[in-house]
């Protein structure tokens, strides 16, 4: 049924594409949010990916590869979104957080999380994407390579350097990860 939907959408069936988009929007947003670390930008990237999917669907060679292809479009939309200066609207966007403030008794956890957040933000979009695909979606390197259209060796080295960079940044900030009670002890 899903492949039929894809084939119908490839022939210009808007209703079929709407069904596909409704099914995929959360996955795309989830991926985009984790790469971009910003809800508004993740929304923009998701919209761009889905609109791009509709526009380029007739170019999709294998309807069975729709999901992987959509992941690739989403990652590419994230690259574009991350690099765009948001030249003329950037300053109007209020960057919100979907998280609630942490409870006081989980200060260490919050500190760790914030440190990881800060370290992750130092990664390039390409490295962020590969970390998310591997550590969140559980993609093997071969799947990542296929999804991103890069050699497996490149995927491997990119993941290696991404994780190494994360650790290096975290090591540099190690003192700030110490919980307040530890600092005063």
């Amino acid at each position: 049924v899903r492949q039929q939907l894809v084939e119908r959408a490839m022939r210009g069936d808007e209703e079929a594409f709407s069904s596909l988009a409704a099914d995929a929007v959360d996955r795309c947003y989830s991926l985009a949010y984790r790469i971009l670390r910003d809800g508004q930008r993740a929304e923009d990237a998701t919209q761009q990916a889905l609109i791009g999917a509709w526009r380029d669907l007739p170019t999709l060679k294998d309807p069975e590869r729709f999901d992987a292809w959509l992941y690739k479009l989403t990652v590419n939309a994230c690259y574009l979104e991350a690099r765009s200066h948001r030249r003329w609207t950037a300053r109007i966007r209020v960057i919100g957080s979907t998280r609630t403030d942490p409870e006081p008794d989980v200060a260490r956890s919050v500190a760790n999380r914030d440190a990881l957040e800060g370290a992750f933000r130092t990664l390039s979009p390409e490295r962020r994407a590969i970390v998310v695909l591997h550590h969140h979606l559980g993609f093997a390197l071969t799947e990542i390579a296929e999804t991103l259209g890069i050699p497996v060796g490149t995927a491997r080295s990119r993941l290696h350097y991404a994780v190494r960079q994360l650790r290096a940044v975290l090591d540099e900030d190690a003192t700030s990860l110490v919980a307040p009670e530890e600092q005063s002890a």
Partner: protein, 416 residues
């Protein structure tokens, strides 16, 4: 295989990523759903290879009538209809019952003349097709667009041209163009040597596509210029025109590459750009990179000084606003676009160093695209169609990213 053998750290990353949201706000899907009806699917040579025999058979009769009629007018110089064509053997298809006259279109932008049924509509191109940019589809201002009102809305006949860049050999140009789109089916875009050869205005032309591809396209080179003539139809649907009609259209073409106009789109009379006096005028010779940087930076710094304060009046798409707020927001967008309009001619007038190639022209084109999108967003905000405005706003990301790349590549100040 994990590249870093540290399960503890890997798990820590996975746990942290797990905390992020997994559901998209409803507005995302709503925006996409609202946008889809106005966005055409990409066609061109990327069409999937499909054969809908029944659909094609269903339109054979009407197509044949059209073929006969159009052939009649082309060969007689008269009109469609019950004209008897003095050829042997006599036509076997009944002529069209209603006469259809021909019209002639001369493209001021692309440099050619063509005859076509005068009940078709023509939307002349308003922008050049820059070197290095893929030919565009339905909504792009680069193409001369011909539509048959009686045909499905998807069908169109596009003509576009551009000067040849560094690649002046036709075969090399076609190969380079093909490589730029690896997704095209080989049956629909074979290697140049395997393409069908015809002549257009006595120039050798390359034809590819076909009814099964959803397009038929002829590419011809003349006077240091390449032309594309493309008839599109709905994927899997009946062709916009038969090959015979396509050939008749091609037979009526007169190429005039010397008359083509590759300059940026003209600015409307009375617009801020038209009335603004450029502070810097073009020199006769190309500037050095240092001179180019200095002059462009001066233009952009001045534009930014005017444009930046306007941003404080931009509002958020995700909130409710009063009519007065929307009006002020739209005014700010318009003023921002006006500042682009004033800046663009100044950027266009700069004689960039030759080594920059077409990059400065493409940079100007991106500003024109942004200005058009911003101005349209302003109209949509005034009409209280904020979601539509947001789509146009988001569409500025692509040209903005290219502008940023251009500025970064040549170490230029940011324009607004």
């Amino acid at each position: 295989m994990r590249s870093v053998p540290d399960p503890g750290f890997d798990q820590r990353i996975a746990d942290w990523l797990e905390e992020d949201p997994d559901s998209a706000p409803a507005a995302v899907l709503e925006t996409v759903a609202a946008a889809i009806p106005s966005i055409s699917q990409r066609r061109h040579w990327r069409q999937t290879w499909r054969s809908h025999r029944m659909l094609r058979l269903a339109v054979v009769a009407s197509t044949m009538v059209f073929i006969a009629s159009f052939a009649a007018f082309l060969f007689t110089g008269g009109s469609f209809g019950p004209t008897v064509v003095p050829t042997s053997p006599p036509p076997t298809v009944a002529p069209s019952p209603s006469p259809v006259a021909i019209a002639t279109f001369t493209s001021p932008r692309h440099g050619y003349t063509i005859s076509y049924p005068n009940d078709w509509t023509v939307r002349p191109a308003t922008a050049p097709w820059p070197i290095g940019v893929q030919a565009a589809g339905f909504s792009d201002p680069m193409v001369d667009l011909f539509k048959d009102p009686a045909a499905p809305s998807y069908d169109e006949f596009d003509i576009v041209s551009q000067p040849l860049g560094e690649i002046i050999n036709p075969t090399a140009w076609l190969e380079a163009y093909e490589v730029s789109n690896p997704g095209m089916p080989p049956d629909c875009w074979p290697a140049p040597d395997a393409m069908e050869k015809i002549t257009i205005d006595s120039q050798p032309a390359y034809v590819h596509g076909g009814s099964e591809c959803g397009f038929t396209e002829a590419v011809v080179f003349d006077g240091g210029r390449v032309y594309e003539f493309s008839a599109y139809s709905q994927p899997g649907g009946p062709p916009m025109m038969s090959r015979t009609v396509f050939d008749q259209l091609m037979a009526s073409v007169k190429l005039d590459p010397a008359s083509a106009d590759d300059s940026p789109p003209a600015v409307a009379v009375g617009s801020p750009a038209a009335t603004a006096a450029p502070s810097l005028v073009a020199s006769l010779a190309p500037l050095s990179i240092e001179e180019f940087r200095a002059q462009r930076d001066t233009i952009c710094d001045a534009a930014r000084a005017v444009a930046e304060p306007l941003r404080t009046r931009f509002l958020s798409y995700g909130e409710s606003h009063t009519d007065a707020q929307l009006s002020d927001w739209a005014d700010a967008f318009d003023q921002f676009a006006n500042e682009y309009d004033a800046m663009i001619p100044q950027l266009s007038a700069l004689k960039a160093p030759a080594f920059m190639g077409s990059s400065p022209a493409l940079n100007v084109l991106d500003y024109q695209i942004e200005a058009a999108l911003i101005r349209r967003a302003a109209l949509e905000i005034r009409d209280n169609h904020v979601a539509a405005a947001q789509i146009d706003d988001t569409a500025t990301n692509a040209p903005a990213q290219r502008i940023s790349s251009f500025e970064g590549q040549y170490v230029l100040h940011d324009c607004p």
